[in-house]
Symmetry: C2
Subunit: 170 residues, 2 copies
DNA sequence: CGATTGTTTCAGTCTTGACAGAAACAAGTG
DNA sequence: CACTTGTTTCTGTCAAGACTGAAACAATCG
């Protein structure tokens, strides 16, 4: 679903290069993957494109390469910006804005998972307060609570590990 | 959104007890939470109900307590069964089937996360094959790959830790 | 072997939200 | 200060799928 009829009247360096069939497939797969997780397919495809592009990409180019309307690009881009997954860069002497994958995209992704599990832990805590001492369901909610706590802890550690992955190279 | 007008002509032990306002809230929160993650809201509410119920619950009771049609219960129950989050139990002398949260529900939940991240790693691997050696995007995809590998590893460890949480109590 | 009770499947309705196209808006340039 | 270019907002359309009620199906009991 990726057509590279860009470059129309442009002398900018090529956007994509390499096995374009594989890259199209990659972009499409990203779209499908994210769709499974509640992110609009086009948003996922934008991320895919930004991941394999040789240089920052303008909304106009996204629209051409992904074959979707500019308004869709605009809407999805805004969501991705707000989620901290994409960043705007100003290319010197260019009037249009250009976008790249955020440096912290993967970190943000972990943070979002962390937030999700925290929310679930809070639900468990509140639910537990509605059960009397000897209630047969208490055990289940306590198990849920310890599960969320355990996963939350793992995410925290993962986040730290990821953040400090560059230090101590050897 | 939970009305406990069950018990209609029944002498079975009560389904819910405790702070019913809090429990309703819990069930509703579970529905909303799961909805955010692509699971039908009713499915989430069923899980919530099963978590705080005093005993196994029949589809009929779910329909009454959650105020949704039996066919919705049936459909969602089937999904939950297939996902391994819910189990059927046969109550002796009862004609209707009863359901409980699966013992392995939380474990299954981790397994599903693991499968998700594996899929993403495969996407990254395939995409990487479409990029030539010196391609500026290689670094990004390699970072994506190492991120997925790291998260995948963490999930595996988490899964093991959860599975063996009962052994070695002291 | 009807009749009752419980469960699943089916077809239709309704809601949600993604997307497109057009209009509105900004900003920069001659 | 028009005019061009680029971006966002708005409105309408469309598709996906969650949910319901009714019909079909099983199984059990008198």
């Amino acid at each position: 679903m990726v057509s590279d009829e860009a470059d129309s009247g442009s002398d900018s360096p090529p956007l994509l290069s390499g096995d374009s069939e594989a890259l199209s497939q990659f972009i499409e797969n990203m779209g499908l993957y994210f769709e499974d997780y509640g992110i609009p397919r086009i948003g996922g495809r934008i991320l895919g494109l930004l991941l394999v592009a040789r240089r920052p990409v303008s909304p106009e180019e996204m629209s051409e390469v992904l074959q979707v309307s500019r308004s869709s690009i605009s809407t999805n881009l805004r969501s991705l910006l707000m989620a901290g997954l994409v960043e705007r860069v100003s290319l010197p002497g260019e009037r249009s804005d250009y976008y790249v994958i955020s440096e912290e995209a993967w970190e943000r992704s972990l943070e979002m998972r962390l937030e999700g599990i925290q929310a679930l832990r809070e639900i468990a805590e509140e639910g537990l307060q509605g059960l009397d001492a000897g209630h047969p369901a208490r055990q289940r909610l306590e198990e849920m609570l310890s599960w969320t706590a355990m996963v939350e802890d793992a995410y925290r550690k993962l986040l730290e590990a990821w953040q400090s992955r560059k230090e101590v190279p050897a």
